[in-house]
Symmetry: C2
Subunit: 229 residues, 2 copies
DNA sequence: ACCTGAACACCGTTCAAGT
DNA sequence: ACCTGAACACCGTTCAAGT
């Protein structure tokens, strides 16, 4: 019905690469990336799946293009930020702004880390980041290490391997399982004791992201000072 | 031909969950994860694709099981290590051992970060890691932050967003592109100048991984000291 | 030039039927 | 119980044909 692109009133706008990619992003945002199929994107545009091939090479190119649109959105948000002052503040602010955009397109981070394809927008983002580091007194060598050390965190997301809070409270586990996990069980029960209100969802993603980020930024600053005459 | 499981001499061993999963791992190791299909795994075992459904619920379960096999391999490697001494050394050694296993199954890290499914083996790995941190003087709270901060690095891999060395030497870029990337171009040319031999492949993954890891471990130790009476 | 209908190859999966 | 053949729904994609 009133779905992504309400298809009736518009008098069949001609397709374009831009419209195709924007539609893919919209579908992914609303229904998840796994529902983005050539047929579905075509439907949403009032066209056949096969028509898309005049504007994108194939499905891989469509997904690459959709991700690139998101990174462009990041770059636009980030270009407006103040690049002066303390480098740690500038870098931190920039990375958290990138994160805010990615939180609006939750499917994007997985694709971003999956497809090696280094899009111009991704490279541009990193170029500006190196600029901030240089302005903050980093050698090119240390800036280079910094990019690697930050990894996906540079762009505002990190790969959580498992959510320690997922299991709920410690005593929800079967005893024979709990016996095999003495440290996690103890950790969970201490947290539950300290803050009984929050058994589930006691890991605040944003807080944890910032904790890890600050750890890296502090460490990098220490290396910077150590290598600067 | 002499493929993953040479199918002739063996007198049709009965299928089992274990054999199905091991075959999936072997195919992924040799030909890539994208070649692992139900039909292919069946073929390799001299059975029909449909027979697999008696041993795994569906393809998702098969992939989960295959990843779990790899994590079990990590746990076996890691259980043999010395858990005593300096906590940083113990944790570092353990993480690099996990990394060594993952490098033998390069497809696994992507699946590991993709599927939220917190397998018993993954949870077990983290339980032991928390144990090391506790023994090193971490509070449960700080150990918890540490897990988040390490993220996928705890298990030996990190999400590289793009390889700054991928573009080759700086002057291989078209000039109008290079003009848009002043900082990366300068970074690349300085590296090329300092070490002319290595234009491509000048980022050593292992070195960069350890750099980022040490940054985090140092930062965590500093926090530990700051919070310990 | 842009769009389409029919068709193809290849998936995961169901189900009734075999032993 | 374990395994299988045929079939189904749903992909991405090719291609010749339309305007």
């Amino acid at each position: 019905m009133g779905d992504v692109a309400s298809s009736r009133s518009e008098q069949r706008l001609p397709l374009s690469r831009e419209r195709v990619l924007r539609t893919a992003v919209a579908i992914a945002d609303e229904h998840g990336i796994e529902t983005v199929t050539m047929r579905r994107v075509g439907d949403e545009l009032g066209a056949e799946a096969m028509s898309l091939y005049h504007h994108v090479a194939n499905k891989d190119a469509l997904l690459d293009g959709a991700v690139d649109l998101v990174v462009r959105e990041i770059n636009e948000a980030v270009d407006e930020l103040d690049a002066g002052g303390d480098w740690q503040v500038a870098v931190r602010t920039r990375i958290l702004a990138a994160r805010a955009v990615l939180l609006r397109h939750r499917w994007a981070s997985r694709l971003l880390s999956t497809r090696a394809a280094t899009s111009p927008e991704v490279v541009r983002y990193h170029d500006r980041l190196v600029g901030l580091l240089r302005a903050g007194g980093f050698s090119f060598d240390l800036a280079h290490h910094a990019l690697h050390a930050l990894g996906s965190r540079a762009m505002g997301f990190s790969q959580e391997l498992f959510d320690p809070g997922d299991g709920g409270s410690a005593d929800s586990l079967p005893p024979e399982v709990a016996a095999e996990l003495p440290n996690l069980v103890a950790m969970l029960s201490e947290i539950a004791h300290d803050d009984p209100a929050s058994t589930l969802g006691w890991c605040d993603d944003q807080t944890e992201f910032e904790f890890g980020l600050d750890l890296l930024l502090d460490g990098l600053d220490r290396r910077r000072v150590a290598t600067t005459p």
